[in-house]
């Protein structure tokens, strides 16, 4: 549906497997996009993979032909303690994170960053750290220890990794080059390249 902010599309509409309302999610996207200064002409498409439950959380935020191409698993918006139920708090935080990352790609120092499917795990988790630090500063409930553990899994359980986490979490502006530097600093850049594609789940392949 076209509106003052450009077309905002949520797929699927309606949801069949989970108790989500596409209209509610679309309204959230519109509200959050407005609050984060997304250019009014920008089209935003959010695809929610409703087949994927907790605990398989994953998001992607790319910019394609100037439009925001957002994707996440249903788990991202799912209430942690009630199967198939929608959690507005989780949805707000995750949508905010996805839109912030898409904004980064347009004019936030990440213009030359690879697509999400091409990012290395260390790069992605460092960018997520920078993103979720900003999401927290916007007043959303973000579990910092959860994010620290995610970061440590990819960057190591070391003082150097924790210092890098603090830096990324607390900064209000950085660029993809700084993310790459963090990966070198913690050793994440030297890890073997993953055997799996970063967009494995999004690809939706069947066994």
């Amino acid at each position: 549906m076209a509106n003052a902010r450009g077309a905002i599309t949520v797929k699927p509409d309606p949801f069949h497997l989970i108790m989500f309302d596409a209209g509610v999610i679309r309204d959230l996207v519109e509200e959050i996009a407005g609050s984060l200064g997304v250019p009014t002409a920008t089209n935003i498409q959010l695809t929610v993979d409703e087949e994927i439950p907790m605990p398989i959380v994953a998001t992607m935020a790319d910019v394609v032909d100037g439009g925001y191409d957002l994707w996440c698993t249903g788990a991202c918006f799912e209430a942690r303690n009630k199967s198939r139920a929608f959690s507005e708090a989780h949805a707000r935080a995750e949508i905010t994170g996805m839109i912030l990352r898409a904004n980064d790609r347009v004019s936030g120092g990440f213009e030359n960053a690879p697509a999400d499917s091409e990012l290395l795990p260390g790069e992605r988790i460092a960018w997520d750290c920078y993103t979720m630090g900003r999401v927290a500063s916007l007043g959303h409930k973000v579990h910092i220890q959860k994010r620290l553990y995610d970061f440590r899994l990819q960057h190591g359980f070391t003082d150097a990794a924790d210092a890098a986490f603090d830096r990324l979490w607390n900064t209000s502006a950085t660029a993809f080059e700084a993310i790459s530097e963090v990966c070198v600093e913690t050793g994440a850049a030297s890890r073997p390249k993953p055997k799996l594609r970063a967009d494995l789940i999004r690809a939706g392949k069947r066994k």
Partner: protein, 272 residues
């Protein structure tokens, strides 16, 4: 205080939320999930959503420890000495002490991994296996089957801690693993002592254990292939009093559970 407390009467504070088994079984996403390629089953840093998956498992371990504490505690209280000798109850009391410590360790590990008590729902099927009115069945279902599963889970979590170079997870899982071996050994020893003059009862108890083992293999959750997130740990099971043949049997049951689950998916896919 009444004996034989049903799972519906377990005491929990407002942080906890109970999962309904039927919600899990009839979740319409199950069929789609069973056919989706979501990457390797075993826990590794390459696995998609590895952190949330490990956190969720950690929370499951935490509530499992609470229920193991409750189950061992009930065994101390539910039976007269004629049915369960005092020395067995002393062992169960010692197990309560261990499980209490495991609950505390699990809480701290949950903090470390970034989750909170009650963030995920609680399933109480572990405690349900501890509700059998025959103490020998209870020992087989809980100490040999479920504590045996705990050996597999802790061993897999320890391996995950080692590959991710997480010293806290590795250390904690190693310590809890040592206790679980003792709990399984107590179950094996008492099962044999209590049934040494009643082999029919022993066979019924072992059959109950086989049922619990198959159910808790959860259609491929546990096994010996790369498709199973939790690996059967033969070395520790043998330390806990399992024979090689019994380890083979558990592996076969786990494989059968996975095959059954695949058949059900195939049948459901064909019908849809």
């Amino acid at each position: 205080m009444k004996r034989h407390l049903p799972e519906t009467e377990l005491a929990r504070d407002e942080r906890f939320r109970r999962n309904k088994v039927e919600d899990q079984i009839f979740d319409p996403r199950n069929l789609a999930m069973a056919t989706r390629d979501l990457g390797p089953a075993q826990m590794s840093v390459d696995r998609p959503s590895v952190s949330e998956r490990s956190r969720s498992l950690m929370h499951g371990i935490f509530v499992g420890e609470i229920q193991a504490l409750e189950g061992a505690g009930r065994t101390c209280f539910d039976f007269d000495d004629a049915d369960a000798p005092f020395a067995l109850k002393l062992d169960m009391a010692r197990q309560c002490w261990d499980e209490s410590r495991h609950v505390e360790i699990s809480c701290k590990l949950a903090d470390h991994m970034g989750t909170d008590i009650g963030e995920y729902g609680e399933s109480t099927f572990l405690y349900a296996a501890a509700c059998n009115t025959d103490p020998v069945m209870r020992l087989c279902g809980v100490n040999r089957a479920l504590e045996g599963l705990a050996i597999d889970v802790f061993s897999s979590m320890k391996a995950f801690g080692e590959t991710t170079e997480d010293p806290i997870l590795t250390f904690c899982e190693d310590w809890m693993l040592a206790d679980e071996v003792t709990h399984v050994k107590m179950g094996s020893d008492w099962m044999r002592r209590l049934t040494e003059n009643d082999l029919d009862r022993r066979e019924r108890a072992l059959e109950f254990q086989r049922t619990v083992d198959k159910v808790f293999s959860l259609g491929g959750f546990r096994g010996e292939s790369e498709e199973n997130p939790i690996q059967i740990t033969r070395k520790f099971r043998e330390l806990a009093g399992f024979s090689q043949a019994e380890c083979d049997e558990i592996a076969a049951l786990a494989q059968q559970a996975m095959d059954d689950a695949r058949s059900m998916v195939a049948a459901a896919a064909a019908a849809s």
